[in-house]
C-alpha cells in the first residue's frame, strides 16, 4: 500500500501477564472499508483500544495519516480524526440524543464550529441516522437499535477521517443488518475510511475490500475477502466454530 491512512507497526498489548496483541502490523488504505475478523478473544477490540489510546500499546507504533499517534491521549486522537463505537453500546444514557451528538460536535473536532454550522451539522447527522424524531429523548429511553444508531451519529459528529466500528451489526435482525450495511456504505461514500470488526461473515465479506484476520492476538492473514477465506491458516483458526467457517466458505 503506497500511502495508508492508518498503519500499525508491531503492536503489542499486555494485560497483567496476558498478551492480547502480539506484534500486529497492518495497514488500512485511504477511503477503504477494511474488516477485522477473528474468533472471540482474538484481540480485535484490544486493537481498537490501542488505536484510540484507551489502552495504549505496550510496544509498537500507531501511524495515522503519516503521523505517529502512539501514546497520545484519546481526546487528542479523536481530534486528529479517529472516532469509534463500542461493542456493547455506551451512549451517554442520561443525556438527550442531541447532547450525545453535541459532545462530538463541540469537543471532537479540531476546529470550532459556529453556532449555525453546529445546528446544520447536528440536523444533518440526526437525519442521516434517522434520529431526528427522537432527538429530545434521553439515550436511556431508546431501544437497542436506536442506541446503535446514536453511537454512529456521535462518531460522525466528530468529523472523523476514520471510524472504528466494533460489531455494529451483531444482534440485529436480517432486515436491520441490510439497512446497517447500507448506512456503512453511505458513511464510506462520504470519504470516511471505515475499519470494522464483525462476526457476521456475510456482512464483512460483502462490505470490505480488505480483511484482516486476528487469532490469539496475532495477525494470521490480510488480503481481499475471497483470498482470505481460502487461507488454510484462517480456516484452521475457525475450525470448530461451525457457523463462522460455514460463513467463510459461502
Amino acid at each position: 500500500m503506497s500511502d495508508p491512512l492508518l498503519q500499525g507497526r508491531a503492536l503489542v498489548r499486555d494485560f497483567a501477564g496476558l498478551r492480547a496483541l502480539n506484534a500486529v502490523s497492518f495497514e488500512v488504505a485511504r477511503g477503504s472499508i477494511t474488516g477485522i475478523i477473528g474468533p472471540n478473544g482474538a484481540g480485535k477490540t484490544t486493537l481498537f483500544n490501542a488505536i484510540t489510546g484507551d489502552y495504549p500499546p505496550t510496544a509498537g507504533r500507531v501511524i495515522f495519516d503519516r503521523r505517529d499517534i502512539t501514546g497520545l491521549a484519546p481526546n487528542r486522537i479523536c481530534r486528529l480524526g479517529i472516532s469509534r463505537t463500542y461493542q456493547s453500546v455506551r451512549p451517554f444514557l442520561g443525556l438527550s440524543v442531541m447532547n450525545n451528538v453535541r459532545i462530538g460536535l463541540l469537543y471532537g473536532r479540531r476546529e470550532a464550529l459556529t453556532r449555525g454550522e453546529q445546528e446544520r451539522e447536528m440536523f444533518a447527522i440526526l437525519d442521516f441516522m434517522q434520529l431526528r424524531a427522537i432527538a429530545d429523548k434521553r439515550a436511556e429511553e431508546l431501544i437497542p437499535l436506536e442506541r446503535k444508531r446514536l453511537e454512529l451519529a456521535r462518531a460522525l459528529a466528530t468529523g472523523p477521517r476514520l471510524v472504528l466500528l466494533d460489531e455494529v451489526i451483531a444482534g440485529l435482525t436480517p432486515t436491520e443488518i441490510l439497512s446497517m450495511m447500507e448506512t456503512i456504505r453511505a458513511i464510506n461514500a462520504r470519504g470516511i475510511t471505515v475499519l470494522l470488526i464483525e462476526h457476521v461473515m456475510k456482512a464483512v465479506m460483502g462490505l470490505s475490500s480488505e480483511v484482516i484476520v486476528l487469532h490469539h492476538g496475532e495477525k494470521i492473514a490480510q488480503g481481499d475477502p475471497a483470498q482470505v477465506s481460502q487461507d488454510p491458516a484462517v480456516i484452521s483458526a475457525y475450525l470448530g466454530q461451525a457457523d463462522l467457517s460455514a460463513g467463510l466458505r459461502r
Binding site: P74, G94, L95, I103, Y107, T158
Partner: protein, 312 residues
Amino acid sequence: MKRTLPFVVPTALLLALPLLRIDARDYVLQVLTLLFLNIVLAQSYDMVGGTMGYINLGHIAFFGLGAYALGILYNAGVPFVPAVALAVLAVMAFAALISYPFFRLRGAYFALAAFGLVKLMEYVTINLNWLTGGSNGLKIDPANRTVPMYLVSLAVVVIVLLASWVISRSRLGLAMKSIREDEEVARDFGVPTRLVKTQALVVSSIFPAVMGAFYTWYINFIDPGQVFGLKIALTPVAMAMLGGSGLVIGPVVGAIVLYMAEEVIWTQFDELHGAMLGGVIVVVGLFMPGGLMRLRPLDALLGRLGWREDDR
C-alpha cells in the same frame, strides 16, 4: 418573561425584607442568611457532585478555608474587600492544586479522599496554633453585620443560581455531564477530562469560599470544628439529593426543604433532633434518588414553567 417571574419576584421580595420595621426583623434575617448559606453550599456542591458525578464530600473544606483565610488576612491588617478577594483566590488556587491528585481517584475513592481532607483540614487548623488560634478559634473585631450579610448572601444565592444555569447549558457543562455519564467515552470523544474536572472544581470552590470569607466577617468568631465539621460537610450532599441532584433547580429546593425541616424539628421537639434529621436523610437516600424535582407533578410543573432541562 413568564420564565423569569418565579425567580425575580421572590428575589425582589427578599431584597426588600430588611426595610421591614418589626421586632423580629433581625431574627428573620439571620434565619434566612443561614438558609442562603445552605443554598449556596448545596448548589455549588452539585456542580461537581451532581453535574459531573464526582461525589465531593470535601466541598465544605473550601468554605472553611475561605473563612480562615479571611480571618487571618483581616487580622493581619488587610482591608476587608481585598482580604475577601485574596481569600477567594487562595481557595481557588487550593482547588486547582488538589484537583490534580484527587481527580486521579474515581468513585468511592474520590469521595473518601475528599472526606478525609475535611478532617485533615480540621486537625491542621487546630495544630497551626500560631496562625489560626488553634482549637480556641479565631476572632475578628466584633460588630453586628446582620443586614449587610443578609444582602451579600442573597446576592451570592442569585449569582450561584445563575451560574448553575449558565454552566448547565454551556459547553463546559455538557462536558461535565458527559464525564458523569461515562468518563472514558467522554475522553474518546475529545473531552479533555482532566482540564474539565479541574475547571469544574475551581468554579465550584468560588462560592463556598466567598461565603466562608463573609461568614467570618458576619459571625466574628470561627473555630475548626465549626467550619470543618464532618456533619456539615455532608448536609449539602443531602440537600442536593433531596431536591434533585444534577438539576439546576434541585439543590436550591432541597436546601430550602431540608432547612425548613430542621427548623421544625428544632422548634417542635425537645430531644433527639439529630436522630430525626438522620431519619429524614435515610428516607431521602433510600426512597428519593431522583429528588423532589424529578417527581412527576413537580417535573410537570417545571415543564409548564419552561424550566425543564433536556438532560435529567
